[in-house]
Structure formats: structure tokens, C-alpha cells
């Protein structure tokens, strides 16, 4: 598996909800090698902004990558203005991705952690078509995104913070209320959500693969900025700090401390 830098071409961009965008990029090699749960980093066009922005891969179709992201600052603000024909320098595919198991899959995601679940659901469906996939998705309110895309591959359970759609509460409340049975959890979302899922899964002795994020500089494992606490001594630095960009972003919940 290799990593590349490329000038990707914008195929299309649309706004899914206020502040949430879907960007489709034509790539040379990166899409062809990307796996569910991996990410790419995008460089802005502004030379005063040096660091690339890591964004999870939402979907791969042939040589195109789809990114669904939230505008949170300068970089994502710039990306949201791209339109067909624009180019953007990217680096990837980065990170390890999810390990697809032949067990009843439950995808658990909240907010802008939801996008990587689409490619994962596609990947599970392709590998094990007989497995019934459940996706438990948490949103702030009824302004959802990607639900119809994920419904093509999975039974979707929705939880909203304000109760305006689906179950009133968080994704763990939804799992309990709907008696969602899992052979393995795959999760991405805010740290409190992942902390809750880790406790729930470990309490029931179910494997949980969780995708983490942290401020990154290099994105390839050299700078040691984006570390997370690990239970055991990590292989790279022999302390208790795994590199999210290189050793992750997906970890077995039992290996990390949140």
C-alpha cells in the first residue's frame, strides 16, 4: 500500500445541510487504493496555511473519492467554495482503515463521523452480502445527511439530540432502546460518543473498532502530533502513544484510553 500526493480535480460539489458539504474528486491513484475508514488530507490554495486538512473518505467510485465534511474553519471554508474543474492538492490514502469481519455488523456514528460509514457499509456488503448491516446514526436534530445513501446497504436507526427525528437521545440510547444486536461495532464520531460505545461494547464483550481524530501536521506518522493514549506500549515510540494518522485512525476500543 502506497501513499501519493496528487492534484485532484473537482467533479462536483453540493451542500447537503447547512455547513455540510459533499465534494467529489477525480484522482489518479488514490481512490483506487483507498479502503473504508482511511482518510486523505487536502492542502488549501493559501500559501500561508501550511498544513493539510485530514478528511475521512465517504465513498469511493472507481477513480473518484467522495468527501462529506463540515465547515469548521478557514481550510474547510475554502474547500466549500470549490466547484467543477477546480483542482486541489491531496495526499493519501492515509491511515489503516476498518478491518471487516464476518460477524453481524453494527455501524455507530455521530455527526461528521457518519461519512466514513457509507464506504464501510458498501465494503461489508461487497465482502459478506449475506450479513444484515445496521447503522445507528446520531444527529443534532432532524437536519440529517447521507441517510438515503446508507439505507441502500443498511437498516438505519436514527437518534437525535433534540428528539426531532428518531429516538430522542444519543446512539447508545438508540442501541439499547431498539435492542440492536451486534457481532462487531464499527464507530466514528465525537469522543464522548466513542467513550460511551467503548464502555457498552466492552461490557458486553463485543469487538468495537473505533475511529479517532486529533490535530495533525504530517499525516504520515513522522511528526508525532496526533497521538492517543494506548493501554499497551506502542510499537513506534515504546511509550503509550499510538499515532492516529499512521497506526489508526481505527483502533480496537480495548487498545486505547479515551
Amino acid at each position: 500500500m502506497s501513499k501519493y500526493t496528487e492534484q485532484a480535480k473537482v467533479v462536483r460539489q453540493e451542500m447537503l445541510q447547512e455547513g455540510i458539504y459533499s465534494l467529489i474528486l477525480e484522482t489518479d491513484k488514490i481512490a483506487g487504493e483507498a479502503r473504508p475508514g482511511q482518510f486523505i488530507s487536502l492542502y488549501t490554495h493559501d500559501g500561508s496555511k501550511l498544513l493539510p486538512r485530514p478528511i475521512s473518505i465517504c465513498e469511493v467510485n472507481g477513480s473518484t473519492l467522495r468527501l462529506v465534511y463540515r465547515v469548521v474553519g478557514f481550510g474547510t471554508g475554502e474547500f466549500s467554495h470549490y466547484s467543477q474543474g477546480d483542482t486541489v492538492k491531496i495526499i493519501g490514502p492515509l491511515g489503516n482503515g476498518f478491518t471487516i469481519r464476518d460477524k453481524k455488523p453494527v455501524l455507530v456514528a455521530g455527526g461528521i463521523g457518519i461519512p466514513p460509514m457509507l464506504e464501510l457499509a458498501k465494503g461489508i456488503h461487497a465482502a459478506y452480502p449475506e450479513l444484515e448491516i445496521t447503522a445507528v446514526l446520531g444527529y443534532r436534530d432532524s437536519r440529517t445527511f447521507l441517510v438515503d445513501d446508507i439505507k441502500k446497504y443498511a437498516k438505519v436507526v436514527i437518534a437525535t439530540d433534540d428528539g426531532s427525528l428518531g429516538i430522542h437521545g444519543n446512539v447508545i440510547d438508540a442501541i439499547k432502546q431498539e435492542n440492536v444486536e451486534a457481532g462487531v461495532f464499527y464507530a466514528c464520531g465525537p469522543t464522548p460518543m466513542l467513550r460511551g460505545l467503548k464502555a457498552y461494547a466492552e461490557g458486553k464483550d463485543i469487538e468495537a473498532q473505533i475511529s479517532l481524530e486529533e490535530k495533525m501536521a504530517c499525516g504520515i506518522g513522522a511528526c508525532l502530533a496526533c497521538v492517543c493514549k494506548t493501554k499497551n506500549v506502542d510499537e513506534h515510540s515504546h511509550v503509550h502513544n499510538a499515532r492516529i494518522c499512521k497506526d489508526g485512525p481505527v483502533f480496537d476500543s480495548k487498545e486505547v484510553e479515551l
Binding site: K215, A217, G219, L224, A225, V227
Partner: protein, 302 residues
């Protein structure tokens, strides 16, 4: 046209003057996926201590205008793992190996330097300028007496030439450069990062968990060029220049200011091919301007 880009630092001949800045390049394995490490003048490794260091809490970095602040805190696996894994990895390549050494106490530094004495590394760079650790690091680098003292102690124990890496967080860089020379340093490298701070106004707290961090990137380059110029004119030992180099033109500024070699740091994060582009760019400049030996350029601006 026959062009000579090789430089000599303390008896070590580098094929070209371009090396990596400690902490930005690991021990080369990660960037080896993008660049041919054989082409680099030298790889300067991430700082290594006598025992593993866990580093600081996250967030450890923040982007700033034309630069970034880091407070990694010298996370490293310790000298044993380094000798078993990183040195054999680098030995596979035709490049010089410069090991960056860090410590909390004088004894820590001595232990690492002694441990490296029989290892196949070319030079040692002594980090007395990290702004992100509570003990060691910059504490040794902000007072000329302690710079001279630690230099002379390590010089006695080191089998390889030693480069003292200086901090810009001082009133007069020439005083520190002279102190390193007086202690017996074979070369000096500068600048390490400038201590900085960024506030995250949305979270209403510090952008990096350590509160302060080291500012690097092109934002600091004019400060770095000025300090390299001052240091190079104050001492007789070679100077290795760094601080915000993004391209060959930036590197040539440092060389003309008096640097015998240059290091690429933060630019690696912006463009993983920067080191090679700088090497090629320096050669192209020399060809265009009919400079046959890079030594003609070192310190040519007086």
C-alpha cells in the same frame, strides 16, 4: 558543466548541503515513501533520550499564519530501540546520519552520547534548545556558561563530531554561538523554534495543551537568516542554518548568510518532496549563475 555541491562539516563530507530538521522527519522511514533518502545530504533524526519519553498531552500542534506551533515534548522510544531499529534502517541508505540527542540532565545527555560512540553514525546534534520540555532542552541553551559547560562535557564523551543546536530565544545569539565554540563544539545549528502561543477563541483556551509551543515555518525565516548571519560571523566553526526554508531560494539565503548546510523542517509537512526540490533547485541556481562550487556561495553576502 561540472558542479560541486558537496560541503564539509567537521570532517564529514556531505554530498549536498541539504538535511532534515530534527523532529520533522522521524528517522526517515515515513518520508522514504515519498523521497529517495539516498539523495539527502544527511538525515537528522528526531531527538532521542536515554529512556523512552511519552511527550506532552494533545493537542500538540496548531497552525498559525505562515507557520505552526508545536509542543510534541520530544516523544521518543529511547536509545536502545533507536540503536536496534532506526540506525540499521538509515544505514541502508547512502546518506549521512546525524542523531539528535536530548536529555533532562547532563547525565542523560552523556549516557546517550556514550551509547552512540560505537554506533555507525556520522555526527551528533545536541538539542539544548527545545522549548517544550520542563527540564533539559532550552534550560541548557539560554545561558552562555551552561552552553559552554554542557558542550565541553559532551565533547569529552563523544566519538563523533558534535553540533550544538541553539535556541533563538536569547538576547544575543552570538554569545551562545561563541560559548558553544569555546566548549569545543564542532559545529552549531540554528535556529530551533521560537517560543509562541496561540489562543483558540472558540474553546477559550490554549490551542496546544502545553500552553506554549515552538513556532516554525516561513513566518520565522527572516529572524533565522539574521541569526545565522550573526552567528556565522561570530564563530569559526561551521553553521547549519534552518528556520522556515520552503524552497531552494530560501535555502540559498541561509547559505549566502553563512550556513555551510541547511535543514528542511516544517516544509516537509506542506510538501513531502521539499528536500529533493531544494537539492535540485540549488543545483539549477548554480548552473544558471555559473557557480561551480557551492563553497563560493557560503557566506558570500557580507
Amino acid at each position: 558543466m561540472d558542479i560541486c555541491t558537496s560541503v564539509n562539516i567537521a570532517g564529514v563530507e556531505l554530498e549536498n548541503p541539504v538535511m532534515t530538521a530534527s523532529g520533522t522527519f522521524g528517522s526517515g522511514a515515513e518520508y522514504g515513501e515519498f523521497v529517495d533518502l539516498n539523495r539527502l545530504g544527511a538525515v537528522v533524526t528526531k531527538g532521542v533520550a536515554n529512556v523512552p519519553w511519552p511527550g506532552n498531552p494533545t493537542p500538540r500542534i496548531a497552525e498559525t499564519y505562515g507557520g505552526m506551533i508545536n509542543a510534541i515534548g520530544l516523544q521518543n522510544p529511547g536509545i536502545d530501540v533507536f540503536c536496534e531499529r532506526d540506525i540499521p534502517f538509515l544505514k541502508k541508505y547512502d546518506t549521512k546520519i546525524i542523531v539528535n540527542v536530548c536529555g533532562r540532565t547532563e547525565e542523560d545527555y552523556v549516557e546517550v552520547v556514550e551509547r552512540l560512540a560505537d554506533e555507525p553514525v556520522d555526527m551528533l546534534e545536541i538539542n539544548i534548545s527545545c522549548p517544550n520540555v520542563k527540564e533539559g532542552g532550552i534550560a541548557f541553551g539560554q545561558n552562555p556558561d551552561s552552553v559552554e559547560h554542557i558542550t565541553s562535557v559532551l565533547k569529552k564523551h563523544a566519538k563523533q563530531p558534535i553540533i550544538m543546536k541553539l535556541s533563538p530565544n536569547v538576547t544575543d545569539i552570538t554569545v551562545m554561538a561563541k560559548a558553544a565554540q569555546a566548549g569545543g563544539a564542532d559545529a552549531i545549528s540554528l535556529i530551533n523554534t521560537l517560543t509562541g502561543m496561540k489562543i483558540d477563541v472558540n474553546r477559550r483556551t490554549f490551542a496546544v495543551a502545553n500552553k506554549t509551543g515552538g513556532l516554525s515555518g516561513p513566518a520565522i525565516k527572516p529572524v533565522a537568516v539574521r541569526m545565522v548571519y550573526q552567528a556565522a560571523n561570530a564563530v569559526k566553526i561551521p553553521v547549519i542554518g534552518m528556520g522556515g526554508i520552503m524552497n531552494a531560494e530560501d535555502a540559498l539565503e541561509f547559505i549566502m548568510a553563512g550556513a555551510s548546510a541547511v535543514s528542511i523542517g516544517t516544509a516537509n509537512f506542506h510538501n513531502p518532496y521539499t528536500t529533493i526540490e531544494v537539492i535540485d533547485g540549488i543545483r539549477a541556481y548554480m548552473e544558471k549563475n555559473k557557480i561551480y562550487d557551492i563553497k563560493e556561495l557560503i557566506g558570500c553576502v557580507k
